[in-house]
């Protein structure tokens, strides 16, 4: 298992959010490589090594940070596809979204999300959240080994 080489997949369409998240990862000294995809379709292509990512080495992402409101294919659909496939359903998926709607929360967990985090408006809180999230999922948590 090539976990050391596997990436954190950030599924996020908003470039400002991408930049703030990456900045925070750097600040928090999380060394894991981060791969950013900008819509649901690209996320699925990357995860299942299809389309533009057909040629990549079949290593499952270590962690998927998933926004819900995405162009083309929505976050919940991406989540469903990941959790429906035995090859990928072991990958921890953390929903990281602006939405605090109860129905999103319920739908996320029903589809098998491993965690649901609402992005706080206060950037201090956001930084704290990302630090703790990285520390938990990338250092403390032992995920099920998976390859694609």
């Amino acid at each position: 298992m090539k976990y050391s080489e596997s990436v954190v997949l950030l599924v996020e369409d908003d470039p400002d959010d991408v930049e703030l998240t990456l900045h925070t990862f750097t600040e928090a000294r999380i060394t894991q490589p981060i791969f950013v995809v900008r819509d649901g379709q690209e996320a699925l292509d990357y995860i299942f090594c299809e389309g533009t990512h057909a040629a990549r080495e079949a290593i499952a992402p270590r962690l998927i940070l998933l926004d819900l409101k995405l162009p083309k294919i929505g976050g919940l659909q991406v989540l469903q596809a990941i959790k429906a496939d035995p090859r990928t359903k072991g990958i921890p998926v953390v929903i990281l979204t602006s939405s605090r709607e109860e129905r999103d929360l319920i739908a996320g967990y029903e589809l098998g999300a491993n965690s649901y985090i609402q992005k706080p408006v206060d950037f201090d809180d956001f930084q704290k959240t990302i630090r703790e999230l990285g520390s938990y999922w990338l250092m403390m948590n032992q995920s099920k080994p998976a390859t694609i």
């Binding site: 400002d16 703030l20 409101k69 939405s99 408006v121 206060d122 950037f123």
Partner: protein
């Protein structure tokens, strides 16, 4: 009068049908009864009239009959040729005389209704003896007479007496027959009058029946038109429900969008501001640093407002699921939630006896958290802060409710549902309080009675409290004096009333 009462607008359709039909039926039955009574009267009178006229009639008729038969027998006696035959006729005459005598006796004892009959009868009685004498003489003479000449002479001798007596008898009979005729005419007259009255009654009955039919038709028409109106209203209502569903969907989409899309730029403003300070702190002037700080405060404040507004909207859409809830438990949970805000504070929290309320515990917890959080916030400068939670005793309740109605003048909700038995709960503090002049703004959304730099908060808390209490069919009000603390009261409506208002189930 009756008609105007029947068609009067103040009567319900049901009352009008009952009253109108009852009146018509009573009228028809009454008229029928009066007809029967009248006919019975006619029958009785006819009996009386017949009884009055018949005795005289029957006596005189029989008397006339006997006398005619007797004169016939006398004539037979006169023309009879042998003594044996004459003897037989004489016996027959004696038998008729006996019948006549007994008839006369009975006739004398019969009461007469009219005086005119008496002289007629007297005439009969008076003419009878000479007639009988003549008969006896004729019979005596005729015994020896066999010639035709003698027979004619005898008949001539007999005739005047016979005519006088028979004339008197005939007059009496005629009179009695006349009487009978008059009686018959009187009966006929009564029957005729009865017939006319009956025809009038039948016409009146017909009129009443027509009026009933008209009334029924009118009520049926009104009912039908009301049913049509209801149908139209139902269709309109369905349309409105459809529109509302669409609007509600749009509102939900908007809420979602607000929740998701409006928070993102705020996050960016706050995030990049923070990075600006972190990365270029040395390049920034004191004013620049302060400016960035204000930018971040503004963004965070707006984030809180959006969150609170969403929460407020979410509570508004939520159904009330009532179950018996120990308010004490809710207060304890709320205090636990508010622990961070109470840290490093000198707060004397006094929790008194609290009722078990039929309420939605999740919603009521919002109420308690908000009221307690306010009390904690506004006693910041009170040393020590005293916060009391309790239940108003029934004696106080009346007084407090009166005050409450004055203080929350516009708050009409729940006035009818506020039963004296429903417990009134209060949260009291010895904080800064507020000026009662602005009490009507207290429960408005984003309304604040203090300057923002004095006390934090966005002004949704009490609006949320009011919304939850209203959803329970209850009332919330407050009393205060600036600088002398504030007391918030609430009372819930009864469970059945609330479920009718909000469609909630238990």
């Amino acid at each position: 009068m009756l008609l105007s009462m029947m068609v009067g607008r103040q009567w319900t359709a049901h009352q009008r049908i009952v009253v109108g039909l009852s009146a018509a039926v009573l009228g028809i039955v009454g008229l029928g009864m009066s007809g029967i009574v009248r006919l019975t009267g006619i029958k009785d009178r006819a009996h009386l009239i017949a009884a009055d006229s018949m005795p005289g009639l029957s006596y005189t008729t029989r008397m006339e009959l006997y006398t005619y038969r007797k004169s016939l027998l006398i004539q037979k006696h006169i023309v009879a040729n042998n003594p044996a035959e004459k003897r037989a006729i004489e016996l027959e005459i004696q038998s008729i005389d006996a019948s006549t005598s007994s008839l006369l006796d009975r006739y004398r004892n019969t009461p007469f209704t009219e005086d005119i009959e008496r002289p007629l009868f007297n005439e009969v009685v008076a003419t009878r003896p000479p007639y009988l004498a003549a008969v006896a003489e004729v019979l005596r003479l005729s015994r020896g007479t066999t010639t035709a000449r003698g027979q004619v002479d005898l008949q001539k001798l007999f005739e005047p007496y016979s005519r006088a007596f028979l004339g008197a008898l005939h007059a009496s009979t005629e009179h009695n027959l006349g009487e009978a005729d008059q009686a018959a005419q009187r009966i006929e007259g009564s029957v005729g009058a009865a017939r006319r009255l009956t025809v009038i009654e039948a016409l009146i009955s017909l009129l009443l029946a027509l009026m009933s039919a008209f009334l029924l038709a009118r009520v049926v028409a009104e009912t039908e038109s009301a049913a049509r109106a209801i149908q139209v209203l139902n269709l309109q209502l369905e349309e409105r429900v459809g529109e509302l569903t669409v609007v509600n969907k749009e509102l939900e989409a908007l809420t979602y969008s607000v929740s998701h899309d409006l928070r993102a730029p705020l996050r960016h403003i706050d995030g990049f501001s923070k990075i600006l300070v972190d990365e270029s702190e040395s390049d920034l002037s004191e004013f620049g640093k302060r400016a960035v700080e204000r930018i971040r405060f503004g963004a965070q404040q707006m984030g809180r407002m959006i969150d609170d507004l969403l929460e407020f909207s979410r509570l508004g859409r939520k159904d009330v699921a009532r179950r018996p809830t120990d308010l004490r438990g809710l207060v304890d949970e709320s205090v636990e939630i508010l622990k961070p805000a109470m840290e490093a504070r000198d707060i004397d929290l006094r929790i008194g006896g609290l009722p078990v309320l039929e309420c939605d515990p999740a919603l009521l917890k919002h109420v308690m958290v908000n009221l307690l959080s306010n009390a904690i916030k506004f006693t910041r400068d009170s040393k020590p802060a005293v916060i009391e939670v309790g239940q108003v005793t029934s004696q106080e309740t009346t007084g407090q409710e009166t005050t409450g109605q004055q203080t929350t003048g516009k708050d009409a909700t729940g006035k009818e549902t506020t039963g004296t038995e429903m417990p009134v709960v209060y949260v009291r503090d010895n904080g800064v309080g507020f000026d009662m002049r602005y009490v009507d703004k207290l429960f408005g959304i984003f309304q604040r009675l203090h300057r923002r730099e004095e006390f934090e908060g966005v002004g949704v808390g009490l609006a949320t409290v009011q919304r939850v209490i209203h959803k329970h069919g209850g009332r919330v009000w407050a009393e205060s004096e600036a600088g002398h603390g504030a007391t918030f009261y609430f009372v819930l409506g009864r469970a059945a009333e609330t479920s009718r208002n909000s469609g909630a189930r238990h």
